[in-house]
């Protein structure tokens, strides 16, 4: 696992984020979220609120968003809970960014199925664009991490960029996705294989072929 560390608490950070507060829209959303939990269990809302805060920070910075210490303190105040409990949650889950991040957070899966299907080439493609594991490119565009299985093994190799997964990648398809993102477009999420809609078998089914058209009782053949 990549080393993650909380961005140090500096006067500059305090000056920048000390006055963090919900935008009007997010304030309403936060209220809705907190109301989902029973009375006295408001602390349970810490995870959705952290996510909301991260998105708001992201919107302000035009990045994926991250959680500066003062923002975590804000969430702790909102939920009237000890700040250390909020930091525990934020530092535990890797989907919360606890240090500044770029516009696009490229998370390439490098676990066995993806690796066998060519994730090394995908990583190479990223590296060609100047991405470095655990770093953000100088233009603030790309943050790159290699992650473990994201559960898309049927359409490996895959990459998660911000909220979307892009699957069935080849170096060319990966380049196309990254180029589209860089141009400000929103590429189609999911499989990038034009022959596939989702994770249905590629080509003809090879298993249980007799069941494609009608129900077939295999038991007598066992």
């Amino acid at each position: 696992m990549a080393d993650r560390f909380i961005e140090p608490d500096t006067p500059e950070l305090r000056a920048r984020w000390g006055n963090f507060a919900w935008t009007e829209a997010n304030a309403a959303k936060a209220k809705d979220i907190v109301a989902r939990y029973p009375e006295g269990r408001q602390r349970s809302a810490v995870m959705p609120l952290l996510d909301l805060a991260q998105r708001q920070v992201g919107a302000e910075l035009n990045t994926q968003g991250w959680l500066p210490i003062p923002v975590m303190e804000f969430v702790a105040r909102e939920l009237d809970m000890p700040i250390i409990r909020v930091v525990e949650v934020a530092s535990f889950y890797t989907m919360y960014n606890i240090a500044p991040i770029g516009r696009f957070h490229v998370q390439v899966c490098g676990t066995t199925p993806c690796m066998l299907r060519g994730s090394d080439d995908i990583i190479e493609t990223c590296k060609k664009r100047g991405m470095k594991k655990g770093h953000t490119t100088a233009d603030g565009m790309w943050s790159f991490t290699e992650v473990e299985c994201m559960g898309n093994c049927a359409s490996a190799p895959m990459v998660q960029i911000n909220d979307d997964n892009y699957e069935d990648l080849t170096p060319e398809r990966m380049d196309a996705v990254l180029d589209a993102l860089a141009r400000g477009e929103t590429p189609k999420a999911g499989t990038q294989d034009p022959a596939r809609h989702t994770v249905e078998p590629v080509g003809e089914p090879t298993n249980l072929a007799a069941m494609i058209t009608a129900n077939h009782d295999y038991r007598s053949e066992w």
């Binding site: 696992m1 080393d3 993650r4 909380i6 608490d9 210490i69 000890p82 700040i83 250390i84 409990r85 930091v87 525990e88 530092s91 535990f92």
Partner: protein, 672 residues
């Protein structure tokens, strides 16, 4: 009550017991790191694995598994042995092999258990994890590479102390225990995590690299930094007390100890009075004992003598002084240094009657004029437990940060006579109501008004189960208070009576909080151990012993009589207090009836038999009627938790705590 079989022996265990507790009942030792009797169950160290049938065919964590009827538990099978070896090997993967330079060495759970349950050697050749040191304040030294993530400290600060400040950041192998942004741990019980830590990750900062546990002589003592009579173990090497640890006593301090009690001991070697002094031409001059007594023998006070007892003296000292003053024909004795004059005819009216243990089961508690967190940190822990069980707490007094919630209903004593409706309703409907009166509310009619409430709400009652309940409590701050009151250290008008009597000689037994301006005409003989306020005002200083340097009897605020032993000798020419008073009797030409400590104790017990029996003294159930009205703003007497007594004031550790934790000064960390 489920019946289980442990290693073939059948036994019945209480309902709700865990498998680990069942094994303990069967006399089997189960190794553990994260499990602690007084904390919630975490089940994350996996050291307590045992084999349980019926169940999955694999070892199970016994600390988190309820014992059920018909279980067959094995703690001695090959599977268990292998499981323990495996867990221990995993734990040691990232634990440094630095026992020779670790302060926990010799009293380390991990060390002991790896010897008892671990493999003979390591098979691990990779790099070990290293974790940066975390700053946790002036009392707790950290070496987080040694941490095995048992989370006892996290659970302690959340559950017992009630101040959420320690947490586990990150995850998996990168998990780190830290305080928020490495701020110092800021509560009065913080150092208990040192005892809880099963490894050397959290150790005592003042005691760092001082000694090994096997070098220390351990003496059982009683803490005098507050009135709860916490049971302590005094660890000394040679003539120096190196540390103080809590002793288990479920009735008093459970197994916790306040930071002050634990760390004020470095004050025992500073600012000590180790020679007698006489005031000559306005200046204190060091003299010999002979010169001091020669000067004293010329005083001839007759009956014009009085004694005032300090907050930390033992009953024997007070009784010896009482015998001396009595032999001279006087009965002017007072222990309430700051001028309190509440009635003491019935000691039940000034005692913590509910007892520290039973206050946990109270369901409605009214606290009047007590900042419990500072005045009695171990009682604060009990109150938090009571609230966790569902008790409602109301407080009268200026607001302070409670660790148990509670509602502040005013900061004036007059609220006592005019309780808000919901408070009197709650007290009226409560099954186990309790009132706690603190030092700030004893005067100005406060005690009487609170006693009035005791009558109104029937705080003394018989519970449904037939046991007696006395919900009226006074929480004192001085370790000597209840003992002093039992020995008659109380005048009707308080210390003002002593001032009015204009005694020729005033014996001050370590009394440092007295306003000596009133005794300008008296010869002040100070018998104490620290060069503090009392010594500055004294005309004669006779150096005496601190609480670690003499055996003694102490009575806690709940009237619990406890005995302490002598751990070390007093420094320099200082003597035990009773020997000084005995010699003073010779100087004044009277006899006091004792020549040895045993004779003194026997005489004391003859005079006050309750002082001879360890345990609750028992002052009866009847409370005086009380009543009347009280008024006046409540002001808590303790302004600085770390500076309440002469020992703490002399202690560099306590001074630093005060400066850093209460006054926000920043200290640069010394480079190591």
């Amino acid at each position: 009550m489920p019946k289980v079989k442990v290693d073939g022996v059948e036994l019945e265990v209480p309902a709700g017991a865990t498998v680990l507790q069942a094994c303990e009942l069967a006399g089997k030792e189960i190794p553990r790191f994260c499990y602690h009797e007084r904390l919630s169950i975490a089940g994350n160290c996996r050291m307590c694995l045992v084999e349980v049938k019926p169940g999955p065919p694999k070892p199970q964590a016994s600390c988190a598994l309820p014992a059920t009827d018909g279980q067959e538990i094995r703690t001695d099978s090959e599977m268990v042995k292998k499981a323990r070896e495996g867990v221990m090997e995993f734990l040691l993967i990232n634990h440094p092999l630095d026992c020779p330079i670790c302060d926990q060495g010799g009293e380390c759970d991990l060390q002991d258990q790896s010897v008892a349950y671990g493999r003979g050697g390591s098979r691990y050749h990779e790099h070990k994890r290293a974790v940066t040191e975390k700053y946790m304040g002036p009392l707790i030294k950290t070496q987080m590479t040694r941490c095995i993530h048992c989370t006892r400290c996290v659970r302690f600060s959340e559950e017992v102390a009630g101040v959420d400040e320690i947490g586990a950041l990150y995850r998996g192998e990168s998990m780190q225990i830290t305080t928020y942004l490495e701020h110092a741990a800021k509560h009065e019980m913080s150092a208990n995590v040192i005892d809880l830590c099963p490894v050397g990750a959290l150790t005592s900062r003042p005691y760092a690299y001082e000694a090994r546990p096997w070098e220390l002589k351990k003496t059982l003592g009683i803490d005098v930094s507050d009135a709860t009579g916490s049971n302590i173990r005094i660890d000394a090497r040679g003539r120096e007390v190196l540390r103080v640890l809590p002793r288990n006593n479920d009735d008093v301090n459970e197994e916790w100890l306040s930071d002050k009690a634990r760390f004020q001991i470095d004050g025992l070697t500073k600012r000590r009075l180790d020679k007698p002094y006489l005031r000559r031409d306005g200046k204190l001059v060091a003299v010999t004992w002979n010169e001091a007594f020669a000067a004293l023998s010329t005083l001839n006070p007759g009956a014009s003598i009085a004694a005032v007892a300090g907050d930390m003296v033992d009953c024997e000292t007070m009784f010896a002084a009482k015998a001396l003053v009595g032999a001279l024909g006087s009965s002017l004795l007072e222990g309430r240094q700051t001028g309190m004059n509440y009635a003491t005819a019935n000691l039940a009216a000034v005692n913590f009657n509910t007892t520290l243990n039973d206050i946990e089961s109270a369901d409605t508690i009214l606290i009047v004029g007590s900042m419990v967190r500072w005045e009695a940190p171990t009682v604060n822990v009990r109150l938090r437990k009571a609230v966790k069980r569902g008790a409602k707490v109301f407080l009268i007094g200026p607001e302070w940060e409670t660790t148990f919630g509670g509602e502040f209903i005013g900061d004036d004593l007059s609220v006592l006579g005019n309780l808000p409706g919901h408070v009197s309703n709650a007290l009226g409907q409560a099954k186990r109501p309790a009132v706690i009166v603190g030092g700030a509310a004893l005067g100005r009619g406060g005690l009487e008004a609170a006693l009035g409430l005791a009558g109104q709400f029937k705080l003394v009652r018989t519970l449904e189960d037939g046991s007696a309940w006395n919900g009226f409590n006074v929480l004192h701050m001085a370790a000597s208070r209840m003992g002093g009151l039992m020995l008659g250290y109380a005048q009707e008008g308080g210390i003002a009576d002593l001032v009015a009597a204009k005694p020729k000689v005033l014996i001050s037994l370590g009394a440092d909080e007295v306003d000596y301006a009133g005794f300008a005409g008296s010869m002040i003989v100070y018998i104490g151990h620290h060069g503090d306020k009392g010594a500055h005002a004294a005309d004669v200083i006779l150096p005496a012993s601190a609480y670690t340097e003499k055996a003694g009897t102490y009575v806690s605020t709940e009237g619990r009589v406890q005995f302490a032993d002598k751990a070390v000798f007093a420094p320099g020419d200082a003597r035990e207090d009773w020997t000084i008073l005995r010699a003073l009797a010779d100087a004044f030409g009277v006899t006091v009836g004792f020549d040895s400590f045993d004779e003194l104790r026997a005489a004391m017990i003859a005079a006050v038999p309750a002082l001879g029996i360890e345990g609750l003294a028992g002052y009866g159930k009847a409370l005086p009627a009380g009543g009347g009205s009280a008024s006046g703003a409540i002001v808590y007497p303790i302004k600085d938790f770390y500076m309440t007594n002469p020992i703490a004031r002399a202690s560099a550790t306590m001074q630093r705590c005060s400066a850093e934790l209460l006054h926000g000064e920043e200290f640069a960390e010394a480079a190591e």
